[in-house]
């Protein structure tokens, strides 16, 4: 849903603490561009859809929002900044009313690039309900 992706992007890039950690607005939908410099944030829709439980066209989505950085601490700091912006907070979604936004599942990983450099991920699944 484009409106929701735009809302997440705007909310994240509007957070001063997060953009300070990122050194700019390095927030990407689906995936970071090849060779994008660390750190950055990536978000994507992980699941969900129409609730179909009542006449309103309510939607229940889960988004995977995570930070990538050169150290576990930096990734964790980005994750915390994202959480501070989203968890149990309101969000403006054009044409919709966001009535629930909450962090649900924490995830983290470490991967090694072909150059042998470790890249750390820290993030979470966020449930977003709109109507």
């Amino acid at each position: 849903m484009n409106e929701l992706s735009a809302a997440i992007y705007s909310t994240l890039t509007g957070g001063t603490a997060l953009t300070t950690l990122l050194g700019g607005s390095a927030v990407y939908h689906h995936k970071a561009p090849d060779n994008a410099p660390l750190p950055y944030v990536v978000f994507n829709k992980q699941g969900g859809g129409p609730e179909n439980s009542h006449p309103d066209d309510a939607r229940d989505y889960v988004y995977f929002i995570r930070g990538y950085a050169a150290s576990a601490k930096a990734a964790g700091d980005i994750d915390a900044a994202v959480s501070a912006l989203l968890h149990r907070k309101g969000m403006t979604v054009t044409g919709w009313n966001c009535f629930w936004l909450a962090r649900e599942t924490d995830l983290e990983s470490e991967e090694t690039t072909p150059a042998g450099v470790s890249v750390y991920m820290a993030g979470a699944i966020y449930r977003i309900r709109i109507v």
Partner: protein, 149 residues
């Protein structure tokens, strides 16, 4: 004086017919998630799709799923799905080692020594949407209706 009456006859009928145990319903949900996730899994060799299985305290789908995944792609390695304990009724999911990277996205793997550049592979979720879809079926009552009719 206004009065609102709740007609519970339909609800009573449903409750009376609901002879399923918690374990039976839990297993049913697990197999539904397995089925949905298999349909949503990206398919190249079909190893990921085939590797989905459900494990309960009296059923273990792992050996067959592992064999099917290795038949589809002999290079894959698999890990057993844990047998549930305590209040958990079933564990369900893929058993190939790269499933998590497909579900959540990943950087290019070290063996792809091209230019040393860093590439990011987007997430291709299959298990989370399967869980969400099955949860929505039960939240909306559609699945409960199937259980009693």
């Amino acid at each position: 004086m206004n009065e609102v009456k709740l007609d519970t006859r339909e609800l009573d009928k449903i409750a009376g017919k609901l002879n399923w145990t918690r374990k039976q319903i839990g297993k049913r949900i697990a197999f539904e998630i397995e089925s949905e996730a298999k349909q949503l899994a990206p398919k190249q060799t079909t190893a990921l799709e085939s590797s989905h299985c459900t494990v309960t305290d009296d059923y273990n789908g792992y050996p067959a799923a592992s064999a099917a995944a290795k038949a589809a792609n002999p290079k894959v390695t698999t890990s057993p799905i844990p047998v549930p304990t305590g209040n958990i009724i079933a564990n369900v999911g893929p058993c190939v080692d790269y499933a998590e990277a497909v579900e959540f996205g990943h950087l290019t793997r070290p063996f792809r020594k091209t230019s040393g550049c860093q590439r990011f592979v987007a997430a291709h979720p299959f298990l989370t949407p399967a869980v969400e879809h099955v949860a929505q079926k039960y939240n909306s009552g559609a699945a409960w209706k199937e259980l009693v009719e």
